[in-house]
């Protein structure tokens, strides 16, 4: 089930009614609420492919068992952690990367003159596997490091892993943030329901009114046979708008629905295209995942917890390691590896330049430069295959301009309109807190709901596309 399906409205209304309408009090109410949410999460996740619930259950049972084992046999913590890593990453590898690995090895052998005819592996990618694998691993890793005590309640742990608003596309929640919220009683507050609805509607507007409309143009450009580079680059800028609207839209719906259920999820985006440097970008883009990679991959690769400063060479290696993993996490394809390597190179170069150069260009210039670099990254991310990059690099940027310019201008219109909606919404969002306690807040929110509903109704298409991050 996805958030922009009509069935979801009915489903969520039922979940809300059951969650807040329970005639119980105290701990019994909390447990019953969590049980209801766990059942709802199973329905949500298994709606189309019930077999995928088996993988979710495997991951949950494994990490619950491992963390309980760590509490009981502290001396075997390392072995238990290894078991969790092998189990979770093995499952992720088998379902997400095995086909890619087999094909890549076959291609490499073929390039060396050894032609092999291996069968094509058509393994279905379970939705959200990358997200919940990383989320559950964070729980085990935190217990291993002693930052979190293992939880005895299987119900709470299972709900932490499978909490449906953020199950399939994040935010990747840390156990230390989400578990305590699931362990305390939750009460429905009218403002919390209203603000959750407002946020979820803003997410839906981003997805339906911006992302899906921009996608129509972007998708057409990326299937063209060797299009002019100018078209590809401007289409990548449009894709920058699309992916931000799509992914942050999902996050806002997730945060909004979770808030209506009495749970606060973490921020995932903070105006990423206003980043002034590559490191700033990663502090603003997909924050929950970037910080996960920083904490559980980058810092260990640097050789510590960040308290001692590693050598420049080690930091560079750790940067490449973390961003290559980050790239591969997005998908089993070389273009994602390239995307990760590209961002690692950017980070390394920027770091080096900032040490060497005494100049500090104006903020506008830094933002513009970083946005341009980000857009080139999105070209790598969105292109059909690596051949597209070859075509772009081998062709003069101005080639084919005489036939490309009308398309480029039209795309500029799409970027300005889509980006404008996002910017306007972001600016309003930043100021909404000023009316949080105002008696006029219901007036404003009612008005917003009506406007959002009208926009969604006008722009929703029957051929609605899935959220982009469902593929990861």
């Amino acid at each position: 089930m996805t958030f922009v399906q009509q069935e979801f409205l009915v489903f969520f209304a039922l979940v809300l009614a059951v969650t807040w309408g329970m005639p119980l009090v105290g701990e019994r109410r909390r447990v019953a609420q969590n049980a209801a949410l766990l059942v709802a999460s199973a329905v949500f996740y298994g709606w189309v492919e019930p077999w995928m619930l088996g993988l979710l259950l495997f991951s949950t049972v494994l990490d619950y068992g491992v963390t309980m084992g760590m509490a009981r046999w502290p001396e075997r913590r390392k072995a238990l952690l290894a078991l969790s890593l092998v189990g979770n990453l093995g499952m992720l590898g088998a379902f997400k990367y095995l086909g890619f690995f087999v094909q890549s090895v076959g291609d490499a052998l073929g390039a060396l003159g050894f032609v092999v005819h291996w069968p094509t592996l058509n393994i279905a990618l379970p939705v959200g596997i990358s997200f919940y694998t990383f989320q559950t691993l964070s729980y085990t890793l935190d217990v291993y490091r002693g930052k979190l005590t293992p939880r005895r309640s299987f119900l709470d742990v299972a709900l932490f892993v499978s909490f449906f608003p953020q199950l399939v596309a994040g935010p990747v929640e840390r156990a230390r943030d989400l578990l305590p919220q699931l362990e305390r009683p939750r009460q429905a507050a009218p403002s919390q329901l209203a603000s959750g609805l407002s946020l979820a509607l803003w997410g839906a507007v981003k997805k339906i009114v911006v992302a899906d409309q921009v996608a129509l143009y972007v998708d057409r450009c990326f299937v063209l046979n060797e299009p002019p580079p100018s078209v590809l680059f401007v289409a990548s800028a449009a894709f920058a708008v699309q992916i931000l609207a799509d992914f942050s839209g999902y996050t806002d719906i997730a945060r909004g629905t979770a808030r209506m259920l009495g749970v606060n999820l973490t921020h995932n985006f903070n105006r990423p295209y206003l980043a002034e440097s590559p490191s700033d970008f990663w502090r603003r883009w997909h924050i929950s995942f970037s910080s996960w990679i920083h904490e559980y991959v980058y810092l260990p690769l640097c050789g510590g917890s960040g308290e001692t400063r590693p050598s420049a060479a080690r930091r560079t290696l750790a940067t490449f390691g973390a961003l290559l993993i980050s790239g591969l996490w997005h998908g089993a394809a070389w273009k994602f590896v390239l995307w990760g390597a590209y961002h690692a190179t950017l980070l390394t170069l920027w770091r080096g330049l900032s040490h060497v150069s005494p100049l500090s260009p104006p903020r506008l210039l830094r933002v513009g430069l970083m946005f341009t670099c980000t857009v080139f990254g999105w070209l790598l991310f969105r292109m059909q295959d690596v051949d597209t990059l070859r075509h772009v690099l081998q062709t003069a940027p101005w080639a084919g301009w005489s036939r490309a310019w009308p398309t480029v201008y039209a795309l500029v219109g799409v970027i300005v309109a889509g980006g404008g909606v996002l910017a306007l919404g972001g600016a309003i969002e930043a100021r909404v807190s000023t009316i949080a306690r105002s008696p006029w807040r219901p007036t404003v929110e009612l008005c917003w709901w009506a406007l959002a509903a009208a926009l969604i109704f006008l722009m929703a298409r029957s051929t609605q596309s899935d959220f982009l991050y469902f593929r990861f």
Binding site: W202, L216, R220, P406, A410, V414, R437, P442, E445, C447
Partner: protein
């Protein structure tokens, strides 16, 4: 929208304006809701009334223009055929391009049935066979386009889309699609017009965007009934559809009723240039058409350079002239009920 909170912030503010909302604020809010929704509905209706699908109206205008030769199809036909050049090669007075971007078989059948061409005209249907045989209209835009092509409100409430029926809701859908198209058209055409004015270049906005912004949807998705279709009528994947159950009989009937000659062209296909003669679903449809006296021209194996293609079936402008010449050769070669495929020698 609402303010952002982090995990450590309290969920609800200390003073909850929603717990006991001020009656004035609530009343004003409800009044604003009614106003916003009313304005939105009026806006959509207003936009839709002033905007029509230019491609549909242009196609209707052209098909009834009295031209002796008509090209009917979708964007593939637009990218393949240069009408003036084709008229010259066929030595006829005029060839009218009555194709509609995004059209599927039911649209073409509706166009021919509700807007008959001049008696004795030759109608060349050119679109990929899976589009022609499409058994369902997958998107709201497709259904809205069908409604655009009907002589509404004179048309009876049944359409040609394999038993689908037009409901009054379809009119609202059409308005919604029109309003959406108007908004998106304005968004893309405005910078284009500015660019054209700045550079002093003439550009036809519609042509530039025809292949760019049209809604991309699956040609045939999972089986399922059309909205409003009579119960029990199966709708299947395009390539599984037997010709007699497809839109082809409606097409043939419409041409016969208009006393027009029908030629169906299987378009140039980049993917099948290497093996144009193998048996494909196209052959079954082709045989069915030939048996009913319709000529079929198969251009799949025509010697068109691969770089003439922009996509599987669409051509660059540079490939268009060559393709038009090759098509003219094929069209000249066929008589009623004949199959022509230059590459396979059938």
């Amino acid at each position: 929208m609402t303010s952002s909170t982090s995990a450590s912030e309290p969920v609800a503010p200390l003073v909850d304006p929603w717990a006991k909302p001020a009656p004035k604020a609530l009343l004003l809010g409800l009044a604003l809701v009614v106003t916003v929704l009313g304005l939105a509905a009026a806006g959509v209706r207003g936009l839709a009334a002033h905007v029509e699908n230019p491609r549909a109206s242009q196609a209707v205008e052209r098909i009834t223009s009295g031209a002796p030769w008509l090209i009917v199809g979708n964007s593939v036909a637009q990218s393949v055929v240069d009408p003036d050049r084709l008229a010259e090669r066929l030595q006829v007075s005029a060839v009218a391009q009555a194709s509609v971007d995004g059209a599927l078989g039911p649209h073409v059948a509706a166009l021919l049935r509700h807007h008959p061409p001049a008696s004795g005209a030759t109608v060349v249907v050119l679109m990929p066979t899976h589009n022609l045989l499409a058994g369902r209209l997958p998107s709201e835009t497709d259904r809205a386009l069908l409604v655009e092509l009907l002589r509404w409100p004179d048309a009876p409430l049944t359409t040609l889309a394999l038993g689908g029926a037009v409901s009054p809701l379809d009119l609202w859908r059409r308005d919604r699609v029109r309003a959406r198209a108007a908004l998106l058209g304005w968004v893309t055409a405005t910078p284009l017009r500015i660019g054209a004015a700045l550079s002093g270049v003439q550009v036809r906005v519609d042509d530039t965007l025809s292949n760019l912004g049209a809604e991309a949807g699956p040609v045939a998705g999972p089986s399922g009934p059309l909205p409003g279709a009579p119960p029990g009528r199966a709708v299947v994947e395009a390539e599984e559809l037997p010709p007699e159950s497809s839109v082809l009989p409606l097409l043939v009937e419409a041409a016969e009723r208009a006393e027009a000659r029908l030629i169906v062209v299987v378009p140039f296909d980049r993917r099948r240039q290497d093996a144009p003669c193998r048996t494909t679903p196209e052959d079954e449809a082709g045989r069915w058409l030939i048996e009913r006296g319709v000529a079929v021209v198969d251009m799949r194996g025509a010697p068109l350079a691969p770089d003439a293609f922009s996509r599987e079936f669409h051509l660059h402008n540079t490939g268009r002239a060559q393709a038009t010449d090759l098509l003219a050769e094929g069209l000249r070669a066929v008589g009623p009920g004949a199959y022509w495929s230059g590459a396979c020698g059938r």
